[in-house]
C-alpha cells in the first residue's frame, strides 16, 4: 500500500517534471503544427491571392520552416500591432512577420538573426541617364513626403547643393511623376520599388541600384526564454541562405539584387 502510493507519487512527479522540461521546440514537433504570425496586408511579404489564400515571402518562409521541422504550417494572420501580443497570448509559436529587430522589442521577445533586409533602392526614369545613387546629384528627385527615405533623400540633396527635391503625397504619385519624367529618380524600399516596376503601370522606369541609407533588418521571433527554438531558427535562416532558397524566394517575390543579411565588421 505504502509502496504503491510512493510509486504513484514518483510517477506523477516524473510526469510533471518531464512536462516542464519539454521546451517549445519539442512542443511544436509533438503537436505536429507550426503556427506562424504573418502580416497579410504587406505585399510582397504577405498578401492574399484571388481565392483569399495567404501568399508571399513570409508565407513561403513559414512553410519552409514547417517542412524543416517535419510539421504542417498554420498561417495566423496578425496585423502589425498584433504580432507580439499574438505570441505572448500563445496563439502563435513563431513570428514570420517582417519584424524589425529593435532593441526595444528584444526586451519582450527573442529575436533571431535577420532573415530579410529592406534596402533602399534607387528607381530612375530610363531617359534621365541616372545609373546609380551618385548619378542623382544635380537631378530632380522625389519621394513620398514624411517617410524615412524622403527625409534622408532631402538631406542628401541639401548636402550636394545641387538639384531639387519634390515631396509627393503617395507612393503611387511618386512613380507616376517618375514615369512622366517630372522627376528623374526616387528612393524607396526595394520591395516597393520592385513591386511598382513589375505592375507595368509605370512604363519607362527601372530599379538602377541601392541607396546608402540605413537598412531595415527583420527577424523571426519567438518567446525570449526559448533558447532551443531560437537556436534552431538561427540555423534554419543560415541554411536558407546557404542552400540558395533565400535567393530563390527573393527572386520569386521581390526580384532584383539580393540584399546581404550580414553586417560588416561585427558578429551576429
Amino acid at each position: 500500500m505504502k509502496i504503491s502510493v510512493l510509486a504513484f507519487g514518483l510517477m506523477t512527479a516524473t510526469a510533471l517534471s518531464s512536462q516542464a522540461l519539454a521546451d517549445k521546440l519539442d512542443d511544436i514537433i509533438a503537436s505536429g503544427t507550426l503556427r506562424c504570425a504573418v502580416v497579410l496586408d504587406f505585399p510582397p511579404m504577405g498578401a492574399r491571392d484571388a481565392s483569399n489564400n495567404p501568399i508571399g515571402f513570409d508565407v513561403d518562409y513559414c512553410n519552409d520552416l514547417a517542412k524543416a521541422l517535419g510539421v504542417t504550417a498554420e498561417i495566423v494572420e496578425t496585423p502589425f500591432p498584433e504580432r507580439i501580443p499574438a505570441l505572448m497570448s500563445g496563439r502563435v509559436d513563431v513570428g514570420v512577420a517582417s519584424t524589425s529587430d529593435t532593441l526595444e522589442r528584444a526586451k519582450t521577445v527573442g529575436m533571431t538573426v535577420p532573415y530579410f533586409a529592406f534596402e533602399m533602392a534607387v528607381t530612375a526614369n530610363d531617359k534621365s541617364g541616372v545609373k546609380s545613387f551618385e548619378d542623382m546629384k544635380g537631378k530632380t528627385v522625389g519621394a513620398t513626403a514624411g517617410t524615412f527615405e524622403a527625409i534622408a533623400l532631402e538631406k542628401s540633396v541639401k548636402e550636394w547643393g545641387a538639384g531639387e527635391f519634390r515631396p509627393y503625397q503617395t507612393q503611387a504619385d511618386v512613380f507616376l511623376a517618375l514615369s512622366q519624367g517630372q522627376i528623374d529618380a526616387t528612393v524607396s524600399t526595394s520591395t516597393v520599388a520592385q513591386a511598382n516596376v513589375k505592375t507595368g503601370k509605370f512604363p519607362g522606369i527601372s530599379v538602377v541600384g541601392k541607396a546608402p541609407y540605413d537598412i531595415d533588418y527583420v527577424s523571426l521571433f519567438t518567446n525570449r526564454e526559448e533558447y532551443g527554438l531560437i537556436n534552431y531558427l538561427n540555423l534554419f535562416i543560415n541554411q536558407q541562405v546557404r542552400t540558395g532558397r533565400y535567393a530563390e524566394l527573393y527572386k520569386k517575390w521581390v526580384g532584383g539584387d539580393l540584399p546581404s543579411l550580414s553586417v560588416n565588421g561585427v558578429y551576429r
Partner: protein, 217 residues
C-alpha cells in the same frame, strides 16, 4: 456603370465567415442559455442574500465591455497554459456573457408566475420539480421568449468582436476583402446584408412561437 472585382470565390469566403459567426453564436447561445436557466433558478430559489456572490459575478460579465472580456479571457487562458484555440476561448467568454443576461431573463420569467398559482400547484400535491416543469416553465417561457430572442440576435452581432482573437468570422472576412479589393462601401453593405439575412429567420421564428404559444392574449 457599377462594376466590382468581387468574385464568386470571395462570396464563398464571406459565406464561410458567416458560417463561423453562426457556429460561435449557436454554441454560445446554447451553452449560455443552459447556464442562464441554472443560474436563474438558483437566484430565484436561494433569494437575494444567498445568491449574492453569484449575482456579483454575473454583474461583472454584464458590465465589463465584451471586447475587454475577450482579451482578458484570452490572456487568462494563455497565462494558465490551457492551450485553448481561439474558437474555444471565444465560445467560453461569449457563453458566460450570454449566461449573465439570460439569468436575468429567466429570473424575471419565474418572477412573473403568480405565487398563488404555484401555491395551488403545491397544494394539489405536486412536487417542486413538477411545479417547475408543468406550471412555471410554460408560463415563464411565454414571458421570457421575446427578450431571449433579442439576446440571441444581440449575441450574434456582438460575436463580431471575436475577430480580435484571430477568428475569421463574417466581419473579419469582409475586412480581409476590403484590404485586398479596396471597395469598402460595397463589401460592408454586403456584410450588413448577410447579417440581416441570418438574423431575420431567427426574429421571424421568435414571432411565430410567440403567437403560437399565446393564442388568447
Amino acid at each position: 456603370m457599377f462594376s466590382t472585382a468581387l468574385t464568386w470565390s470571395d462570396l464563398a469566403f464571406l459565406a464561410q465567415g458567416a458560417g463561423m459567426t453562426l457556429a460561435v453564436t449557436a454554441v454560445s447561445v446554447a451553452a449560455g442559455t443552459v447556464l442562464g436557466i441554472l443560474f436563474g433558478i438558483i437566484r430565484f430559489q436561494f433569494g437575494p442574500y444567498w445568491s449574492a456572490p453569484l449575482t456579483f459575478a454575473l454583474d461583472i460579465f454584464r458590465s465589463v465591455p465584451l471586447l475587454i472580456q475577450l482579451v482578458l479571457g484570452n490572456a487568462l487562458q494563455s497565462i494558465a497554459k490551457m492551450g485553448w484555440p481561439p474558437f474555444t476561448t471565444s465560445c467560453v467568454v461569449l457563453s458566460l456573457y450570454t449566461a449573465a443576461y439570460c439569468t436575468e431573463i429567466v429570473r424575471g420569467g419565474i418572477d412573473s408566475v403568480p405565487v398563488n398559482t404555484r401555491r395551488a400547484a403545491r397544494s394539489l400535491g405536486m412536487s417542486w420539480w413538477q411545479d417547475m416543469r408543468y406550471i412555471v416553465a410554460p408560463l415563464a417561457i411565454r414571458v421570457s421568449l421575446p427578450s431571449w430572442i433579442g439576446l440571441t440576435l444581440g449575441v450574434m452581432k456582438d460575436s463580431a468582436l471575436v475577430l480580435w482573437l484571430g477568428l475569421i468570422e463574417l466581419l473579419r472576412a469582409s475586412q480581409i476583402l476590403v484590404t485586398r479589393l479596396q471597395e469598402p462601401l460595397f463589401i460592408l453593405l454586403l456584410c450588413g446584408a448577410i447579417y440581416f439575412v441570418i438574423s431575420l429567420p431567427i426574429a421571424r421564428f421568435g414571432r411565430y412561437l410567440e403567437e403560437r404559444w399565446s393564442p388568447n392574449d
